[in-house]
Amino acid sequence: MAVTPPTDAELDTMIRARLASLGIDLSQLPPGTAADPVTGSPGQASVLASLRSFVRGSVTTLAAFQLPAPAGTDPAHAAAYSQQPAPMLYPSISTEWRR
């Protein structure tokens, strides 16, 4: 069953709550869309709009990505194969110890 995409209001609540759980309070920023005249930092409404877009774009795309299985793999085994590739923070450096 397809999940209903979150509304703007739901995302705003999620974003504020996630940031608050890390100790980040968006109310440090000016209310509305106007940037802080002294520092140029964005207003709360502007930054929330940008963060909603980020969640809908990058978070969703990355979350949906499944690492590919080898060509010819039985589709029934694709999810199992997708668990196998190793994550690599430093791919170029890893080539040296993978020789």
Partner: protein, 525 residues
């Protein structure tokens, strides 16, 4: 225990023991305590100057200045004074530096003049990007967050350059926290492209903007930058320079204010391939303060690689296959580049495909996997001082929103992408043209940016080549051969016109335009 593991263990043990003995923190601090040894500079690092360049020391390449100093034709003090004179006259327009260390540079030059010759960097004045720690000198990363930060030590890369004899002339303007072209932390444009000093709208390249403008504007012999998303190659391309982003780990990141720790690459912005080779030879090496530098292949002789061979008056390059991606040759300068390379003995062109899922795996969403690396080390600042991030804030908040699942998926995708690049691209070529620096920044692979022409408006046009891990020498040899048969890299911008200088003298600050937080979020490296 393998040789690699044993070596890393011993290095770490020695660093911890040394720290414990002094009562310092157990973690190695960036204090220039590198163990990579004295860099080896082969004789090709010294190049007899062009006769016309001897009249103005600021025109000399690093290799030419090294020759002139070594053979007594120029003193470090004369070189420093020549640059300080240009900075005094022209930097009010260029705004490449945020700190000029005139007194310290003069003292260092005087000391260099008395000291035994130490190598090609002996007495060479450099511009240092302001995210490199400099002991006792304010290091801001052009951010409110670091506006009063005076580091207790040099970044390892700075310490290595100084140990090789270089002189720090000043700290250069950069994009706030290394995000965009150089602006003030609230987004007001500062540094201009040295080729169009009266047109602030011309992109000077970012975020190593000030270093690029200082070298292009002949206010420093060479300089340092960092690249996370094109910040060495882009300003080099924009300002007719040769910029070398080495493989991740070649140069220590210890003592460099981070932007994205898996992708921040320190490297040089220089006047040509030979100068870039000299700079990287000094900067590269193992550092106990940065485990990413340990256990890597030895640095090849970059200076030899950047010294083209001639056979019967014709340049002969190391045998190299240059990969050409689909759709690359879309402009006259790119077509001319490929034709010129193809005509060089030893170089051949070969068509290579874009790896599978290239657009997806190198696109915006997968590129954004880097953003938690931005937020995590900045958590104390995010909790207490959001406005202190100025126009750069949004990327740091985005990073805090990306979950661990998505982050890990991104790390898996990086290895997938690397394997496809190695299997599908480098299987049939040695270096490959780039249409964007970002894919190889994601992977930590080396790239070189170099000049290939100009637009009709007189703005430089550049190209980027990429290579497999640790093959900086391949890149340098191709570009050195190209520069042996072209003259783009010899061209220098005209000085800012007198009216611009007069206008700058009359006003403390002018309106050069301003980037908003939304624009920074779109453009950030």
């Amino acid at each position: 225990m393998s040789a690699l593991h044993r070596r890393a263990f011993l290095t770490r043990t020695a660093a911890v023991a040394a720290a414990a003995a002094t009562g310092a923190t157990a973690l190695p601090a960036p204090a220039g305590a590198f163990t990579g040894g004295t860099p080896h500079f082969s004789s090709g690092a010294y190049v007899r100057p062009r006769p016309e360049a001897l009249d103005d020391p600021t025109e000399l390449t690093l290799a030419e200045a090294a020759w002139a100093i070594r053979y007594g034709k120029l003193t470090p003090s004369e070189l420093v004074e020549a640059y300080l004179a240009r900075i005094g006259t022209f930097d009010p327009v260029y705004q490449a530096f945020n700190t000029v260390l005139a007194d310290q540079a003069r003292a260092a030059a005087k000391a260099a003049g008395r000291r035994r010759h130490t190598g090609p960097l002996h007495g060479i004045p450099l511009a240092i990007k302001d995210n490199y720690w400099t002991a006792g000198v304010r290091t801001t990363a052009n951010s409110y967050l670091f506006q009063d930060f005076v580091p207790p030590a040099d970044a390892t890369a700075v310490a290595r350059l100084k140990a090789a004899g270089a002189i720090v002339l000043g700290k250069t303007q950069m994009g706030p926290l290394a995000t965009t072209r150089a602006t003030t932390p609230d987004g007001r444009i500062t540094t201009v492209n040295a080729w169009t000093p009266t047109i602030p709208g011309t992109d000077p390249g970012g975020s190593s903007t000030g270093t690029a403008t200082s070298v292009a504007g002949r206010m420093a012999t060479s300089g340092t930058g960092t690249q996370t998303g094109g910040s060495i190659t882009a300003p080099s391309n924009a300002q007719n320079l040769t910029g070398l982003k080495p493989t991740m780990g070649r140069v220590s990141l210890a003592g460099i204010i981070p932007l994205s720790y898996t992708r921040d690459h320190p490297g040089p912005l220089a006047r040509d391939a030979k100068d870039a080779a000299i700079m990287l030879t000094a900067m590269a090496g193992e550092d106990p303060a940065d485990p990413r530098t340990q256990g890597l292949p030895p640095l090849p002789d970059l200076i030899e690689a950047a010294t083209p061979a001639f056979v019967r008056g014709k340049v002969r390059a190391r045998r190299t296959r240059v990969g050409v991606l689909p759709g690359y040759a879309t402009s006259a300068p790119r077509q001319a580049l490929l034709a010129t390379l193809d005509a060089i003995d030893g170089i051949s062109l070969v068509d290579v495909p874009l790896p599978d899922q290239w657009d997806l795996l190198t696109g915006t969403e997968f590129n954004n996997v880097r953003l938690p690396e931005r937020s995590e080390p900045f958590m104390p600042y995010l909790r207490t001082d959001l406005r202190g991030f100025g126009v750069s804030l949004t990327g740091w908040l985005q990073g805090a929103l990306l979950g661990s699942n998505e982050f890990l998926t991104g790390q898996r995708a990086k290895l997938l992408l690397l394997e496809r690049v190695l299997d599908q691209v480098f299987e049939s070529c040695d270096v490959v043209v780039q249409t964007s620096p970002v894919p190889f920044d994601i992977l930590g692979l080396p790239e070189i940016g170099f000049p290939i022409g100009f637009t009709a408006a007189g703005v430089p046009v550049g190209a980027i080549l990429g290579a497999a891990p640790y093959e900086e020498d391949r890149l340098l040899s191709v570009v050195a051969a190209y520069q042996a048969v072209t003259d783009w890299h010899w061209r220098r911008p005209a000085d800012p016109p007198a009216p611009a200088l007069a206008a700058r003298a009359m006003t403390a600050s002018d309106d050069r335009g301003r980037l908003t937080a939304e624009e920074v979020a779109e453009q950030t490296q």
